[in-house]
């Protein structure tokens, strides 16, 4: 049996049909426990989240049936690993994006498709209660600009879960856009590192913006309606090493820039 710290190939999600990336047994165990807790608690936290967004904050997704149809079509095209990358304007973008892509019932039926998130630890992980909620809600907190080893561990975890056929959501701008627009020069290289390390990884680019959202904020305005567009890309690069990771990240962020331009052109 492998000891802690030794690479090990963990199991795979049923039907994923691909070997999982090698991670330490400790990380594999932690992931398995968090995944199980999240699935068991799903009927509570998924339902509470959706009810809160719908009735509490009165958020709406514009043409939600079309968005969900499009997501299911893109999902059905391939069983390759899927990383969701989105623009980032509010603290609750990840919840809104998940809700846009599927109903509460869909996520309870397809729990491994519900994206894992990598929220900023300083925004969400301050108290014991917050950390417990993050654990249940499929979050792997990250300290942006923190110790590189910790950031590296989170990237390894994301590569691992993608290779198991699960899904992750990452904001490639590495934070909410301070200009209110996708910032091409803020492309976090870690996203490209993940995509480059997971064979065949597709990237579902999601551009989402509330109609009342002029710039960045903690929450969208109450009663706001979110416009959502999707595009699936498979970034490729002939470069090597760090340049490859940077190139892949830039392809993703440029796609989001194009989607934003299309959004404003259509307004």
């Amino acid at each position: 049996m492998a000891e802690d710290g030794e690479p090990v190939a963990d199991g795979r999600v049923a039907g994923a049909g691909r070997p999982a990336a090698a991670v330490s047994p400790r990380m594999a165990r932690r992931h398995a426990i968090q995944r199980a807790v999240s699935i068991v608690m799903g009927p509570v936290w998924v339902t509470v989240t959706v009810v809160g967004m719908y009735f509490g904050y009165r958020y709406r997704i514009a043409d939600v049936a079309r968005v969900r149809r499009e997501y299911r079509r893109l999902r059905a095209e391939s069983d390759a690993p899927l990383l969701v990358c989105a623009n980032h304007l509010t603290l609750v973008d990840s919840f809104l994006i998940a809700w846009a892509l599927g109903s509460a019932g869909y996520w309870l039926w397809h729990p491994d498709e519900l994206p894992w998130n990598t929220p900023e630890r300083t925004n969400f992980g301050r108290t014991w209660l917050h950390r417990a909620l993050l654990f249940v809600a499929k979050c792997v907190p990250i300290t942006r600009g923190g110790a590189r080893e910790d950031v590296g561990d989170v990237l390894e975890r994301v590569k691992y879960l993608l290779s198991r056929g699960e899904t992750a959501l990452i904001f490639p701008e590495a934070g909410r856009s301070r200009t209110g627009r996708v910032q091409e020069d803020s492309a976090a290289w870690g996203v490209g590192r993940i995509v480059g390390a997971v064979p065949g990884c597709r990237v579902l680019c999601v551009y989402m913006r509330g109609r009342a959202q002029a710039t960045w904020s903690d929450f969208p305005a109450k009663g706001d309606t979110m416009d959502v567009s999707l595009a699936c890309i498979e970034p490729k690069s002939d470069a090597k090493g760090l340049r490859r990771s940077r190139d892949l990240s830039q392809q993703i962020i440029r796609q989001l820039v194009r989607m934003e331009e299309a959004y404003f052109d259509a307004r």
Partner: protein, 81 residues
Amino acid sequence: MDQSEVMERVVKILTPWVKDEAALANVSMETNILEDLKVNSARLVDVVIAFEDDFDIEIADEDVDQVNTVGDAVNLISSKL
């Protein structure tokens, strides 16, 4: 190339990305690149690629996880020369 030469070149390469120039004046091996020099974490990859070009070495993605301080960068580069 000795460590002081590597250090000098590392600081020179870092300079365009440093937001806290006062910290640059007191830079040492223990200076944290992101926290003390306020280099944008998203730009760290550009800094490391500049290291690769300047020293004509290759640095793997995973090696960047070991780079927190100026000293970490100097040691990593020295190990590849």
